[in-house]
Amino acid sequence: MVTSKRINWFRFSSSQAFYPLTGKMIPWFAATAILAMTTGLYIGFFVAPTDFQQGEAYRIIFVHVPAAWMSMFLYLVMAGWAALGLGLNARPSFMMAQAVAPTGAMFTFLALLTGSMWGKPTWGTWWVWDARLTSELILLFLYAGVMLLHASIEDTRRADRASATFALVGVVNIPIIYFSVRWWNTLHQGASVSMTAAPKMAATMLMAMLLMTIGFWMYSAAVTLLRMRCLMLDREQNPTKKHTLVMQEAMETH
């Protein structure tokens, strides 16, 4: 029956099983992340040859593209956890969704930032209202929406379910980002353009991008699990902590 399942899930996820496990995992993730990113950046910025049209500017691709990929991928992960949560009424998967959100938002912002840094030299402008750029911006808003909605409902259980529902609805934006390049004739190059260079160079580029992606991947895992642990401590020790804190501080400031 649903209720008991919720309780079991909570036990399973709480300190006994979860903590030691993640405790061991996090350092490994972190280490791999650092390793992959440093080598990736090294290859990207020193090994990979200069692009004959774009010069050095193109090297931003090694941050930009993986960041962009992560921004979309993490949203799907978050939505997945949200769906699981709603389906099984499982508290921990809600928490996972909450834990993923900030990282996803961060990568979205990174993609936007690097993108516009790249736009300046290549397009001569920081920002254009191009479909892909805009839809990526919308992705940022969706992440913001999920977090805001959760923040603005006191009762955590309700907040979980509400923001999860919204996260699921927001999934429709992902295909839009991905296919935007086709729906609009955009400034932003589609999947093909980036790989039209000599095969060898492509190989190094691919290598660098791959490493960066792995790095970002591991980073996300580590940070998410870390946040997850905090969330759990928070909720197990004191369910209503969030708002009681707000109250007290408000009382004092008044």
Binding site: M1, V2, T3, S4, I7, D155, P239, T240
Partner: protein, 206 residues
């Protein structure tokens, strides 16, 4: 027949009640009493399936209400703290809509009779509910009891802001319902006394 099995309900960190088990038979009235904030409303909302218990189950005629869903709603009339009427509609319209949606009889004559039965003179039936007094509004929402053919009634402090006269009318209506083999669950601070039907008390102590 309504069966509560080891219900446990907590709000925030506060445990309201746990392993609460009881049976309400046909023709029986369950009076939920207790001080303010001991969980009467929470219990009533559980019974309606508006919120779900931490643990335990509620069984209606042998099947869990969680499975029954809409079928259970068709057996149920709930009147809460809130009147659930639209200020901009007339009493007649309010009653008509809630009755029709609930699937009770909602012919104009039926509506008029119900409103008169609860003591609202015809003059008021076609004015916006906004202008009614507190007690008159309460009467409008209670008028649904005169239309309802549902076996199970769940009433949260029905007597709020009613005058002695109206209160008697409502009690009489409940008694009639019990005679027809209905069940009533009512949360109240008044002393319940019935001329008929069997009366069961449950006191919540928070």
């Amino acid at each position: 027949m309504l069966e509560l099995v080891e219900l446990r309900c907590s709000r925030g960190k506060r445990l309201l009640f746990s392993d609460l088990s009881l049976i309400v038979g046909t023709g029986e009235l369950l009076a939920v009493v207790g001080e303010n904030g001991t969980g009467k409303t929470s219990l009533l909302r559980l019974v309606c399936g508006l919120s779900s218990p931490d643990s335990g189950t509620i069984v209606w005629r042998g099947s869990q209400i969680r499975q029954l869903k809409e079928l259970y709603h068709a057996e149920l009339t709930y009147i809460g703290h809130c009147n659930g009427i639209k200020d901009d509609l007339t009493p007649a319209e309010n009653l008509k809509f809630s009755a029709c949606l609930a699937g009770d009889g909602c012919s104009d004559t039926a509506i008029r009779r119900a409103l008169e039965a609860v003591g609202l003179e015809a003059r008021l039936h076609l004015l916006p509910t906004r202008i009614l007094s507190q007690g008159q509004k309460r009467r409008v929402s209670l008028a649904r009891l005169w239309l309802s053919r549902r076996p199970l009634w769940v009433l949260d402090e029905p007597y709020t802001s009613l005058d002695a006269n109206a209160a008697r009318l409502v009690t009489q209506r409940m008694e009639a319902h019990l005679d027809e083999g209905g069940l009533v669950v009512v949360a109240t601070h008044q002393e319940m006394t019935l001329g008929t039907g069997s009366l069961q008390h449950v006191r919540l102590t928070g």
